[in-house]
Amino acid sequence: MLDNLSLLVDAPVLNAQLLLDGLFIGATFALAAYGMALVWGVMNIKNLAQGDFVILGGYIAVSLSSVGLNPVLALPIAVVIMFAFGWITYKLIISRIIDRDLFTSLLATFGLAIVMAQAMNLIFGADVQTAESGMDTLLLGDFVTVNEIKIVSLVIAAVLATIVIVFMKRSRMGQAIRATAQDVRAARVMGIDTDRVYAFTFALNSAICGAAGVLISMIWVIQPYFGITHTIRSLVIVTAAGLGNLPGVIMAGFGLGFAEQYAGFVFGAEFQQATVVGLLVLILIVRQIQQARHRQVVQ
């Protein structure tokens, strides 16, 4: 462990590699986390199946690329399929738990996560898979390698994030979503069909997750049971950044990407998962201490 740490100090170029990889993977984390924050903020639902939506999007890309379609071109198809999937999920499950207590939404989406993970295991098999994009690897300097697909995916993530932001700011539906998040009753009085807004929000989240999944399947690996880790990543980012704080979500996403890369390098690859979960617990503890201090100030 200490050897790895001194290696980082001795050879700074390794840091560049880790930071770059963290940047590329962190962008996809930020996308999925933004979707979670959206649903959390608008509908007050904590979607524990978030990671499984991501993995499902990845499998759509893998299946399409296995019939010869480039995964980059598969992205719009995956987004459309995932949008429909999210809408159906909302109508079947989420619409029934939306005004119930918080634990109900946690448990119901956890059940959904189990069903999705196992269904994907039955359909696609338990092997680790990746969508081959057939792009070259670039060599920056002497040591740092970057696969071109990673750069492409970073660009796509940035474009998608911009589209979503502009959509939320400018379009009628985006305005309706933000109005509903502020005050449901007032939105209803103003003639907004809130049920439709909820359905659209959840479907949009699902589509964002699907896009993130396609990117992850191109630059990394997917497996049916990786969903829970992606869910926890989104939870870490959203809890650290807070709701409705888009710059915070992006920064936290990159931060988590860096943290994972460094922890994986310094402690060994088997610690990568433990880092994510450990960070979640750490952030909750820190938040709690902050709140306790706040309470004392109020007293």
Partner: protein, 353 residues
């Protein structure tokens, strides 16, 4: 309570005790399955102490189960051998424990597991009970997942490869009977303890916390202390059950056996919801029913069992959250000693309609 009900209750308890003792003799092939059933009942009873009676929905109670399992194993082995050597040998070196060594180790291991679980519950209680609502559920889930990952990388206790526990000195049939009886006694002790606890002021304080925590605090209940004590009670029994379960299985590893957050950890919630939370019999009924459903689907629907289970969770949570006991209480409130003034019920219904 009417005298007829009291007699019926006595007969019921006696019947369950007799059935518990003779069941492994009637079905010797299923002894370990039956022992697992008692452990499931213990799971749901201890979860209901927080989730049902106190209103704190923990998703990480399984943490104490795994912690107890590992502490017991380390004590059992560490009393007579070096644990690091033992786990490094990875079962290649056959280590024999004498009868006396085995039983002393087991007894001390279970006690150590119980005591250490109490300590862990106090530590994590201080950290976790500042979190409310969903953050508490997510935080406890995080603790259980983190424990599984960290134990999996800790070579001293065997890492992801796990530890095989000392072999029971004697006949395998006697072994399963022995562990069955221990699980049975532990679960009955849990039931009796919790049933008594719910009749005391302590139980009332827990219910007050569930109904309105801020009001309970304003009434002078030291809520954090009560919550922590309730968690230590759960941890105490869960730690011991983990110690017994580890020895019953004979081999433990972090992800599937010791900290199975997505299986046993979620089953305990589901069993309570199925049976009806906040009641003493609900968790028991839910656990028995769930165990039967699980075994049937595992046997006849292999490959689809997780999908069945997930759908069961969703349907249970959405349509039937009050559970079997909750439904029965709504249907026949008089039998449960609840007094319902029909007039107010009807008039309030008319008002809302």
């Amino acid at each position: 309570m009417r005298p007829a009900m009291a007699v019926f209750n006595k007969l019921l308890y006696a019947g369950i005790l007799v059935a518990g003792v003779i069941a492994p003799m009637l079905f010797p092939d299923y002894t370990l399955q039956l022992a697992l059933l008692w452990i499931m009942i213990l799971f749901s009873l201890t979860w209901d102490l927080q989730g049902g009676q106190m209103g704190y929905n923990s998703l990480g109670n399984i943490f104490f189960f795994g912690a107890g399992m590992y502490i017991c194993a380390v004590v059992q082995i560490g009393l007579y051998y070096d644990v690091a050597d033992y786990t490094a040998a990875f079962g290649a070196v056959k280590v024999d424990f004498t009868d006396q060594q085995y039983f002393t180790g087991l007894a001390l291991g279970v006690i150590a597991a119980a005591v250490a679980s109490i300590g862990l519950a106090v530590i994590f209680g201080r950290i976790m009970f500042g979190l409310r609502g969903p953050y508490f559920a997510i935080g406890t889930l995080g603790v259980a997942l983190a424990a599984a990952e960290l134990v999996g990388t800790w070579e001293y206790v065997g890492g992801g490869g796990g530890i095989s526990l000392p072999v029971y000195p004697g006949d395998p049939d006697v072994r399963s009977q022995f562990f069955y009886l221990l699980c049975f006694i532990l679960t009955v002790a849990t039931f009796v303890c919790l049933r008594w606890l719910y009749t005391t002021r302590f139980g009332l304080a827990l219910n007050a916390i569930r109904d309105d925590e801020i009001k309970a605090e304003a009434m002078g209940i030291h809520t954090t202390r009560y919550k922590t004590v309730a968690w230590t009670v759960s941890a105490f029994f869960l730690g011991m059950s983990g110690a017994l379960f580890g020895n019953m299985i004979g081999f433990i590893e972090p992800l599937e056996v010791a900290f199975p957050t997505t299986t046993f950890g979620i089953f305990m919630v589901l069993m309570v919801l199925l049976g009806g939370k906040g009641t003493i019999w609900g968790p028991v009924i839910g656990a028995v029913l769930f165990h039967v459903i699980k075994e049937v689907t595992w046997t006849y629907m292999l490959g689809w069992q997780w999908i069945t289970l997930g759908v069961l969770i969703i349907i249970n949570v959405i349509y039937f959250q009050q559970g079997i006991m909750g439904w029965a209480q709504e249907k026949w409130p008089e039998r449960f000693g609840l007094v319902v003034d029909r007039r107010t019920t009807i008039s309030s219904k008319e008002e809302s309609a």
